[in-house]
């Protein structure tokens, strides 16, 4: 725990010397086991920052909300590796300027908090390259493989069961740093591509489109699944597609801030065994 306090101290110091004018970090939550996002503007307030194994949320989501970055010169933000990759994705999609961000990087492994070296997103490229090597290993994919092993009708039934619970609250969308559209496709009504009323067909459509819009963009932070009030296992879908783009296109999301999106790029010899 010595280490984690180093990082909060650093955040405080940065505010004190005005290296940054905002710190996005974690504060005590309303209940003991929860942490909430804090927006700290002064060194005094920084004493309230916490960093422990409960700090799971990807705070990068706040960077794209309400044009936040425009109001500050430089922002320090507590980010785990998925959060750091988020910075790369958002920078590559020109939603944020990476040089306005000071990363306070950490990693939670087995209940311990480890501080990561580096401050600008490029400092973490080696770390991300390492993550790519062990991404989507069999352990992480066990629950996905379990669904894959089911008969296709059973898979349909499984997801029908899950999606029938969906109440279209769109918490998954609000929690997702990649869902930064002004107008979500589900709110388009001319035409109304996605049935909005709460029946399973519409829920299917919403979840299919949500997952597809994150294909090759999801960093696997898990914000959506944690936000879901009815516990739909959204990460199973996200991981499935994450592995798909890695396996088929050697594409690991958020590898660099210059990475072109998987769906706006192509190779002439991309696999096409499924095309007759």
């Amino acid at each position: 725990m010595m280490q984690s306090s180093e990082l909060t101290t650093k955040a405080k110091e940065y505010l004190r010397i005005a290296k940054v004018d905002l710190v996005i970090g974690y504060l005590e939550g309303t209940t003991k086991d929860r942490r909430r996002a804090g927006f700290i503007r002064s060194a005094e307030e920084a004493d309230n920052l916490v960093l422990d194994e409960r700090c799971e949320d990807n705070l990068a989501v706040y960077l794209v909300k309400e044009n936040l970055l425009a109001r500050y010169k430089k922002v320090a933000i507590f980010l785990n590796p998925a959060g750091i990759r988020t910075i790369n994705v958002l920078a590559s999609e020109e939603q944020i300027e990476a040089d306005k961000i000071v990363i306070l990087g950490f990693e939670i492994t087995g209940g311990d908090v480890r501080i990561l070296d580096g401050e600008s997103v490029d400092d973490f490229s080696e770390l991300i390259a390492q993550l790519k090597l062990k991404a989507f290993d069999s352990e992480q994919m066990a629950d996905v493989d379990e669904i894959d092993s089911l008969d296709v009708d059973k898979r349909f039934e499984y997801w029908r069961g899950e999606f029938s619970k969906c109440i279209k609250c769109y918490a998954c969308r609000q929690a997702c740093p990649m869902c930064y559209c002004n107008r979500c496709i589900v709110e388009c009504n001319q035409p109304q591509w996605i049935c909005r009323s709460a029946h399973t067909l519409g829920n299917f459509e919403w979840n299919i489109v949500r997952a597809f819009h994150l294909a090759g963009r999801c960093v696997g932070c898990g914000n959506c699944e944690r936000a879901c009030p009815v516990d739909i296992p959204l990460m199973k879908i996200n991981r499935k597609l994450g592995k798909e783009v890695l396996d088929r296109f050697d594409y690991f999301v958020g590898s660099s801030k210059d990475q072109q999106a998987v769906l706006t790029s192509f190779k002439q010899d991309d696999p096409q065994e499924f095309i007759l």
Partner: protein, 145 residues
């Protein structure tokens, strides 16, 4: 039941290759089952996954997406973009229980009238074997209730 089941097949095709290929099948008077309905788009690159969802909502038992062979795209790279898109989208659908067997992808050039006719024949036969897409039909019914 499978005997008199006439599947509903919706095809999304590009204007310059597959649509023209289907035209050639016609001018060559090749015969194929009447189950397919063709939606003409300028390019496979224009075909959005949303179209497929609406086709399913309209009760499609099978969906075909078809365009120009690699290197032949009238718009240089539309088919390459489409190929990536479909590669991911079909995996997603299959994972969610919408079988790959119901959504086919093909390259049919303007000169491949025979290929188009054979493809539709084979696809229709295959979907007949699979039977109606009852799982999705249930969702559609539930919606209209």
């Amino acid at each position: 039941m499978a005997d008199n089941f006439e599947p509903r097949i919706i095809a999304f095709v590009c204007n310059y290759c597959t649509y023209a290929g289907a035209d050639l099948a016609g001018t060559s008077r090749l015969k194929y089952p009447a189950n397919v309905r063709i939606v003409r788009l300028p390019c496979t690159g224009r075909i959005s996954p949303l179209f497929l969802l609406k086709a399913l909502q309209k009760g499609a038992d099978g969906i075909l997406v078809s365009g120009c062979h690699p290197g032949d795209c009238h718009f240089i790279s539309g088919n390459y973009h489409a190929r990536r898109r479909w590669s991911i989208f079909r995996t997603l659908l299959d994972f969610l229980g919408i079988p790959k067997e119901r959504i086919w992808f093909s390259w049919v050039s303007a000169s491949e009238g025979r290929k188009f006719a054979d493809l539709i024949t084979e696809f229709t036969e295959n979907i007949k074997q699979l039977g109606p897409f009852t799982q999705y039909d249930k969702l559609i019914k539930e919606m209209s209730e």
